[in-house]
Amino acid sequence: MSRELTHPLPRSWWLKRPPYFRFMMRELTSVAVFAYTPLLIWALWSAADAASFSVFYEFLRGPLSVWLHVVVLVLAVYHTGTWIALTPSVLVLWRNDEQVDPNLITGTTAMLFLSVSVGVVWLVLV
């Protein structure tokens, strides 16, 4: 009976090939999105009375908050971009027996994302 060899994947498997590393980065950037939720919960909580809201508001204006927002924004945009790029693989549409151009699906998704984002920014700022 001959012995077969197995080579289990090491814990560092995601460092072995650049595409695996990029995949891991894509997944890790979602942690930033998740990590942002406590701030939103704090926002809701502080809305109960003016005193706690002013504490929250002061935190938002501080340098720590500004840096946090810049970092989370960059990571969230990267994360969103990776998923928008993958959309045509999931959403395979057909029109009159012709497959809809995958670039059109990516483009439409990106435009939708941008429009909603601009809409939210407009709601907040105006």
């Binding site: 001959s2 060899l5 995601w14 959403l91 395979v92």
Partner: protein, 247 residues
């Protein structure tokens, strides 16, 4: 014009060794040589103990898959001239047990394929007199891409999810399930759902996407799996709203 290169080949002789090793072969190759030609040259001219699989030599049978410089490749269509490295490292396909040298045990894959019922399933067979199950070219176009798989297992070798957990049904088998689900003549979507949506089915896939990139036949198993996720999730949602309704 002949050129020189060194092939660093993974060797494992189970009757003589307990550990694998790399053996270097310096060869003179021609511009037209693929990696499989070089391995053939080594076997016939330098070292007859070297073992590897191949058959068609034209990217059809799917038996010559190996890891070339870290990437899963069909060696019969991977040209040596495309590698600018001094040495080319040849290893067996990753994530499969190695039987000897570059020969892997493909039993797990062969057992997984039939679990997704990769054949046409109909609720009722038509009588023979009713003739063929007809299909338009447009209907065929919906699944054609997923039907091009040659079972070379490069996708399993590129998939870290399968590498970490071999219970995962895996890219090729799931793409084949979608190939039949999309076929206008098939009515087996529900029948396949037990395996496809099982714990180790589609939901194990984290969309690394490398299966699609390494596929020599442009099958796009990663896309097929995401399409399966979407369609079965929609089916589930529909069954909540309209009990008894599915795809």
């Amino acid at each position: 014009m002949p050129e020189q290169t060194v092939l660093e080949v993974y060797r494992y002789l189970p009757d003589e060794e307990t550990e694998p090793r790399f053996q270097s072969y310096e060869i003179t190759y021609r511009d037209s040589w693929v990696v499989l030609d070089a391995l053939d040259h080594i076997k016939t001219e330098i070292d007859p103990t070297l073992s590897f699989r191949w058959s068609c030599r034209m990217g059809v049978c799917g038996s010559c898959g190996m890891t070339v410089n870290g990437e899963p490749k069909l060696t019969c269509e991977t040209f040596i001239r495309d590698y600018n490295t001094e040495t080319i490292k040849i290893e067996p396909l990753a994530h499969f047990p190695v039987i000897r040298d570059l020969v892997i045990n493909m039993q797990d894959f062969m057992e997984k394929l039939p679990t997704v019922s990769p054949w046409l399933i109909t609720d009722e067979d038509k009588p023979l007199e009713a003739g063929e199950y007809l299909q338009t070219p447009a209907q065929m176009a919906r699944y054609k891409r997923f039907s091009m798989c040659i079972n070379c297992m490069l996708c399993y070798s590129a998939c870290p999810v399968y590498g970490l957990n071999s219970l995962f049904t895996g890219p090729a088998a799931l793409a084949l399930a979608e190939r039949y689900n999309l076929d206008s003549r098939d009515e087996g979507t529900q029948e396949r759902s037990d395996v496809v949506t099982a714990h180790d089915g589609i939901w194990r896939c984290t969309y690394v996407g490398e299966c699609t990139k390494v596929c020599p036949k442009d099958v796009d198993p990663a896309g097929a799996i995401q399409m399966l996720k979407l369609s079965y999730a929609l089916d589930w949602a529909k069954s909540l709203v309209l009990p008894g309704r599915g795809r």
